[in-house]
């Protein structure tokens, strides 16, 4: 085998090793990403337990006619309550 052939084969081997290492690194990255995703979904499911237990789909609920209006009304009531509280505090302070 000539020196040129040997050199070419060594280059191929080196390239092969490099590619294998790259694949291994990408695989590790994939597992880590998946693990993070699993953890996030798992944590979200932990939080959503009572919603799922009571079969509450808040997105579907808020799409129903009147839901946005109800929300706006509650916000308005809340704003009034806050203002009354602030006023009461001010009166008490003065």
């Amino acid at each position: 085998m000539s020196a040129a052939d040997t050199s070419s084969e060594q280059r191929l081997q080196a390239e092969n090793e490099r590619l294998r290492a790259r694949v291994a690194a990408l695989e590790t990255e994939l597992v880590e990403t998946q693990a993070r995703t699993d953890a996030v979904v798992g944590e979200w499911q932990e939080r959503a337990y009572w919603l799922d237990r009571w079969h509450l789909d808040l997105n579907a609920l808020m799409r129903r006619p009147g839901a946005s209006e109800l929300r706006e009304a509650l916000r308005a009531v809340r704003a009034v309550m806050w203002r009354l509280k602030r006023l009461k505090r001010r009166l008490m302070d003065s």
């Binding site: 693990a35 499911q45 079969h55």
Partner: protein, 734 residues
């Protein structure tokens, strides 16, 4: 390229006919046939001027199915398109149909959406758009991932053709449809008064053909009648549906009012989105109310047309047809020709499609199309420290021993750093009311701590290094999952033996024949899988929760036999156990017998104490004070004898099944043949011999000490890596 014929039945269709024929010519249709059934407008003149083939028939000869069959017979195209006289193909229509038929050789028909014309009323425009949107494909997982990067991905997925097979909607519309000639020749349109296309859709799927919804094969089309005409049309439509499919439109005042209110709200929203407001919006609201209200009433009337006097029926029908048939009295000439003159058979009851798909449809998918191909193996993947593992489980309940085994192991795999997810395969929708977060919570409460996600079904499937089937009900679903490097099967028992001769038994046996690498819950089970099914298999030993199952500080009695009498589990051979205890009681009437494991009262020929279903901790106390335990299994060895031994309780099991593969024939367990008297004698032998009991107790504790869940997890993990290694090996050989 396949030749294409287009057939257009026409009667007084001058309004759009010229536009339609020009569009067909533009699309490059090879053969156009217009069938006129007595037009009195310029339709004939338009057809002749367009230079298309023209066939004139008497108005009385027309039938929706009959006339289309005639058209197909008169043409030669390999693909046969049917259009109505007011449906104009949009650019790219024919190319889209060709693409649909190229999807699969078994595609027998394809249909496309009906787009509203510019002057179509909001009710119809919205209905058409939303109706056809319902057939579009949801974006695939890949598209969902891409959505984050590329907003157009989901839109392109939504416009992809959708293959439909048996179990999918049977809808088909001859307003705009295309058929493979071979399929039409096999099925042909029924000679029915209405809905011949729907009947064809049903027959086609039942015969094993596929159909395709092609969103890009669109036509401009709308039936924009006046309010009364609409109602009469719905009368015809629902009468036709009753006659062809047996569908009966329900009618209830409150439900109808709710429906109308929701529909009118939808129309108003639609109209507002189109820029209508003020008086125009008020007009739309009034029109929509009349439209939807009339529709509910007339569709219900149409469903019951057979009971309506003929003159009234004629008035209600837009077609002026007075006669009606019940589903059992189909006007289909094929069925009436085949029936004897006076058949003793009563009219059959025709039922609409009651399920979205059959419970075991995934099994037929596997049998028809085979398992989804696995990903190419990556060198060294079996040795990687962390793996992506997805476990597919069957439905569960508190106390499920098999699920406890799975989660004892899976939770430990998760703690070792593997990425773990759980997927519920629920053929019979047993857990349809249990949403994913509750499933996850229950797994944590019933079995073991699990931090990963739990999914119902496979809509959000993401792929895995190893997908793990865990019961016969999960295997076929696991075989259809894509993006996997290997598949493994954790086998807790030889499940075909759970069933008498039945579909379930056949399917359970089938699960061992798909080259999944099995990880069996005993050497006996492993050997059975290898010998009987030539499966590739490893074994693992069930672990014992040593911190719970240990001798408790309580005086051990000398007069008590405890028996796991779970009668609802047939493989537990409870009648044999009760016979053995009857025999024992006859010899020793003073013996205290305790039954547990079932909430039910057991009818026994001896007095006993019942403990019902006990928690693990309670069991450990019971085992610690009893003299001898009895637990039988006709199939694979279970955890219970090990747990008894761990508490220092000598235990009797069946010889000749699976126990020898774990304990040997002279191990810490007393083995008895499947004979009540022999079992009674073995129990009596232990009761009579305190020395032997002491020896068995000591040996049992020593033996079980090494049987931990950590060890079981080691063995299962090795089995999963073995599955990956086999894939690497297979790839290197090929």
């Amino acid at each position: 390229m396949k030749s294409v014929a287009a057939i257009v039945p026409v009667k007084d269709g001058e309004r759009y006919l010229q536009e339609l024929l020009a569009a067909l010519a533009r699309e490059g249709v090879d053969e156009i046939l217009v069938i006129d059934s007595g037009s009195r407008d310029r339709s004939l003149e338009i057809a002749r001027a367009a230079g298309v083939d023209l066939l004139e028939i008497e108005p009385g000869e027309f039938g929706h199915g009959r006339t289309r069959n005639l058209g197909a017979e008169r043409t030669r195209g390999e693909l046969i398109c049917f259009l109505t006289q007011d449906a104009t193909p949009c650019p790219g229509w024919l190319e889209a149909y060709r693409e649909a038929f190229a999807l699969d050789q078994r595609v027998g028909a394809a249909y496309g959406p009906h787009l509203p014309r510019a002057d179509t009323s909001p009710m119809i425009a919205r209905e058409l758009t939303e109706f056809f949107a319902g057939f579009e494909s949801r974006p695939s997982d890949g598209d969902r991932e891409n959505d984050a990067h590329e907003n157009g991905a989901s839109a392109s997925a939504a416009h992809a053709p959708v293959l439909q097979r048996q179990g999918d909607p049977a809808f088909l519309s001859n307003v705009n449809a295309c058929y493979a000639r071979a399929c039409w020749e096999e099925i042909r349109f029924r000679d029915v008064a209405y809905s011949e296309d729907q009947a064809f859709g049903t027959d086609l799927l039942a015969a094993g053909w596929l159909k395709v919804y092609q969103p890009r094969a669109a036509v401009l089309h709308a039936h924009d009648y006046g309010a009364i005409e609409f109602m009469r049309r719905y009368f015809d439509e629902y009468r036709g549906l009753r006659e062809t499919t047996g569908h009966v439109e329900p009618f209830g005042t409150i439900a109808a009012a709710r429906h109308v209110r929701a529909a009118v709200t939808g129309d108003r929203r639609w109209a507002a989105e189109q820029g209508l407001s003020g008086a125009e919006l008020a007009r739309v609201t009034a029109r929509a109310t009349i439209h939807h209200g009339g529709r509910r009433v007339f569709s219900a009337l149409g469903s019951h047309a057979a009971r309506i006097p003929r003159p009234v029926s004629s008035l209600l029908s837009l077609e002026g047809r007075s006669e009606s048939t019940t589903p059992g009295q189909s006007t289909d000439s094929r069925s009436s020709a085949a029936a004897p003159a006076e058949s003793p058979l009563q009219a059959p009851k025709r039922l609409p499609q009651l399920l979205p798909h059959d419970d075991y449809s995934v099994v037929t998918d596997v049998w028809r199309d085979g398992p989804t191909p696995l990903l190419e193996p990556v060198p060294g993947m079996a040795e990687r420290e962390r793996l992506r593992l997805a476990m597919v489980i069957p439905p569960f309940a508190r106390g499920s021993g098999g699920h406890n085994t799975l989660f004892q192991i899976f939770s430990r795999l998760e703690r070792r750093g593997h990425s773990c997810s759980v997927w519920l395969a629920d053929y019979h929708n047993q857990m349809r009311e249990v949403w994913p977060a509750v499933l996850r919570h229950d797994i944590n409460e019933f079995f073991a701590s699990f931090q990963g996600p739990v999914y119902r079904g496979f809509d959000q499937w993401q792929g895995a290094d190893v997908v793990i089937a865990t019961g016969w009900q999960t295997v076929h679903a696991a075989l259809r999952l894509d993006q996997c490097r290997a598949r493994a099967y954790v086998v807790n028992d030889h499940e075909p033996e759970f069933f008498a001769t039945s579909t379930e038994r056949v399917l359970a046996e089938d699960t061992y024949r798909h080259d999944l690498h099995c990880i069996a819950a005993s050497p006996w089970l492993r050997d059975l899988l290898i010998d009987r099914y030539a499966a590739s298999a490893d074994a693992f030993q069930l672990g014992v929760e040593q911190e719970i199952y240990r001798p408790r500080p309580v005086q051990r009695r000398t007069d008590t036999v405890v028996y796991y009498a779970r009668h609802s589990t047939a493989r537990r051979a409870v009648p044999i156990g009760l016979l053995a205890l009857t025999e024992l009681h006859r010899k020793r009437p003073d013996l205290r017998i305790v039954l547990f494991g079932s909430p039910d009262v057991m009818y026994a020929a001896f007095p006993y104490e019942s403990m019902g279903v006990l928690s693990p901790t309670q069991l450990s106390w019971l085992y610690s004070e009893a003299t001898v335990g009895l637990c039988l299994s006709l199939t694979n060895f279970s955890l219970m004898p090990k747990e008894m031994l761990a508490c220092g309780l000598p235990c009797v099991e069946l010889a000749g099944v699976s126990a020898e593969s774990i304990f040997g024939s002279d191990g810490p367990l007393e083995l008895a043949p499947l004979d009540p008297r022999a079992i009674a004698d073995t129990l009596a032998g232990l009761l009579d011999d305190p020395g032997r009991r002491e020896q068995r107790s000591r040996e049992g504790i020593e033996f079980v000490a090494s049987h931990t869940w950590e060890h079981a997890t080691d063995e299962v993990e090795a089995g999963l890596r073995h599955a990956l290694r086999e894939r690497e090996l297979a790839a290197s050989v090929s």
